[in-house]
Amino acid sequence: MDGLKRGSAAIVGVAESDLGQVADGMSPMDLCAQGITRALADCGLAMKDVDGLFCAMTQQRMSIVSLIEYLGIAPKFIGSSMTGGSSFEFHLAQAAAAIEAGLCNVAVIGYGSTQRSVGRRQASVREVNPFETPYRPFLPSTAYALAASRHMHEFSKTWAPSPCTWPATPISSSRCSPISSQTP
């Protein structure tokens, strides 16, 4: 159990897909493919060089299978662990391990989402938890707000809104429900 060898793999190309409100009809897979193409261009590699592929998405069941078909490649090693926003850190660890083990040479980690364009309700599968759903928590925000309320209570912090990536809109005109956490 020596773990991964330091320096056995490196991140060589990085890119973003279109962001924010994207063109009508653009799918999560379109955006993922866009990002992958741009990341390959960033390091001078081609799609045919890719022999490892990783992705995780909320809008697509078996997203890795769809992505393989979309890209038209047959990677030797794939991964699609779904752990929410941390999925890609796990993909990175798995990709590094696969490269070190000689299972692939060029691994791409992709993601695409049209949540901003289609709205939150269309962007993820509704999950019913009989012990939580009846209280209508706005997840994941409510979970963070509850943790924050407890943190503020224990450590005497006060609440301040964090800088927002998107321009703030009034509650009445907002498509998604904003959430606030009260100061205890």
Partner: protein, 126 residues
Amino acid sequence: MPNDATSPLATYISHLEKGELAYQFSPEANRAVFFPRVICPFTGSDKLEWRVSKGHGTVYATTIVHPAEGAPFNVALIDCDEGFRLMSRVEDIPANDVKIGMRVKFRVHSQGGEEPPIPVFTPEAA
């Protein structure tokens, strides 16, 4: 091996229908277990006993959800005196007045229709 005759959720709901807040207790871990499940998360044992809470608890964490439509409402985590924590809400007072550390008392809320009853809480009489 025959299938289990009932689910943890069904047992939990049957208690709520009698006006009781039920939870599980793990004798091997000597700890309360919530949400109800088929094995103890502390030991892996399937030996879990059902117990009925006295219904007294303390607000552990609280927040207000502002839905796109309708009035803001409270969502809270409640620590029951028997040592388990559950998501719920505190009723009868404005969402803004729910405070961490507040003593609360369980009551059953009927959701109506096909939905099962759920536990909610109200402030303990001062």
